[in-house]
């Protein structure tokens, strides 16, 4: 059996939404280089919808694949829906991750959550709760 699923390898080899959004509405960064994983997410939000998302990742194959999949899962979605994204959903969409790589999906969830928090900090009027 290979280390990673075909889905993971596909997103690792051909990561979706790679890059930077200048003047993003929300930016989130998690992890640290000491531990070997850093993810940075950039969101463009219009009318409470994530119209664009980009990421940059320093990390292993599953960290890159998790970032890519997470961006796919929230792109075009309303902000309130993106807030519900879980690491489990990211891992499932990738057809699973090895146990010791599950933290990569957690980082992806946290990076998106951080970016959304940043958006709400910049736009407190948008926060509905």
């Amino acid at each position: 059996m290979a280390l990673y699923s075909e889905k993971v390898m596909d997103h690792f080899r051909n990561p979706r939404n790679v890059g930077v959004i200048e003047n993003a509405d929300g930016v989130g960064e998690v992890g640290n280089a000491k531990c070997g994983d850093i993810m940075k997410m950039y969101l463009k939000i219009e009318n409470d919808v994530i119209v664009d998302v980009k990421f940059e990742t320093f990390g292993c194959g599953s960290a890159i694949a998790s970032s890519s999949m997470a961006t796919e899962l929230i792109k075009g979605k309303p902000v309130c829906e993106a807030m519900q994204l879980t690491n489990k959903a990211v891992a499932e969409a990738l057809d699973g991750l090895p146990d010791y790589k599950m933290h990569c999906s957690v980082l992806a969830e946290e990076a998106i959550r951080n970016a959304l928090d940043d958006y709400y900090t910049k736009h407190p009027e948008k926060r509905k709760d």
């Binding site: 390898m9 690792f12 080899r13 990561p15 790679v18 890059g19 930077v20 960064e29 280089a33 000491k34 531990c35 070997g36 994983d37 850093i38 993810m39 940075k40 990421f55 940059e56 990742t57 320093f58 990390g59 292993c60 194959g61 960290a63 890159i64 010791y100």
Partner: protein, 395 residues
Amino acid sequence: MRIYADNAATTAMSPAAVAAMTPYLTEQYGNPSSLYALGQRAREAIESARETVARCIGASAREITFTSGGSEADNQAILTAVQIGAKAGKRHIVSDAIEHHAVLHTLQKLQGQGFEVTLLPVHENGIVRPEELKAALRDDTCLVTIMYANNEIGTIQPIREIGAICRERGALFHTDAVQAVGHIPVDATADQFDLLSASAHKFHGPKGVGFLYARRGVRLTNLIEGGAQERGRRAGTENVPGIVAAATALEEAVLNRAANAEKLTALRDRLIAGLSDIPHAALNGDARMRLPSNVNFCFEGIEGESLLLLLDDRGVMASSGSACTSGSLDPSHVLLAIGRAHDVAHGSLRLTLGDDATEEQVDYIIAAVRDVVAYLRGFSPVWRDLCAGKLPHIL
């Protein structure tokens, strides 16, 4: 192109070794302890293999014990030395920070049993300083265990000097020579080690077989109790095919050693020169005192596992000291011991060339690494911060 550049992990079996072992997997299946001819032919094969192995390292046959591999030999060598030491009230061990886990974990276990362990630093070049060993030795030092050559960064230790110092001070000296035997000259007389561990699959022999050299007079402690195989020092029916193949492979490796080393050293230096052209990259370990086949680099701003996966896509098989490749959170203890920061230790790449490597392959590897490093840096937030001056470059 498919290039196997992970020969420190394991090597392809020598066809001569496969041919030598085949009869013992098929018609010559006798147990060496049996008295009929079928058994005795297996016994003769083992004893002939022992002679060959001994000759290859300047030892005598009685000093060679076959084991299941390098880790078992390391364990047995260390436990033997501390048992001898403990009888004389000596409970201090000297080793170094970049040993293989087969040694380090055994020493940790002994620390829990009341032995004291001093780990020598290896400095930036990954080499133990004999004067520091001298200073660390005590009257109650029973064992010095220092590897011949390092498995990750390929550095070669001053074994001859270390052996002389240990001999003078009356401490047993064990060397884990798993990466050295068959690749660089190893000689039991000139080097003055008392115990040496080796593994067949690192010199084109099969997996699951290795040997322990113990100088005459050093009585081995058994790890495995049972029958009287290996002169009562290692119980269990002998791995006849493995032992035969190990000897054939070693003989061949030693015969071709000088020519291979000369060729590989030139290829290694070509590879080092090519990878050095990548910005913010650095060679790990000493440039000269290193195995002919070993190249190990750190690249800033990238992580090793993704580098390995993409190199594999391009046909280059290599390894890394990144935490992600080991399943632990910490990167290689060897890279940390030579002073690499965690951040860059995660971005390490080890390439260990095979005897059949060519200039064309080396140039292909250089181009592949250069491309993949640039690609990964292209979306690395760490690299972005380094380039923007938000983080200081360390390499």
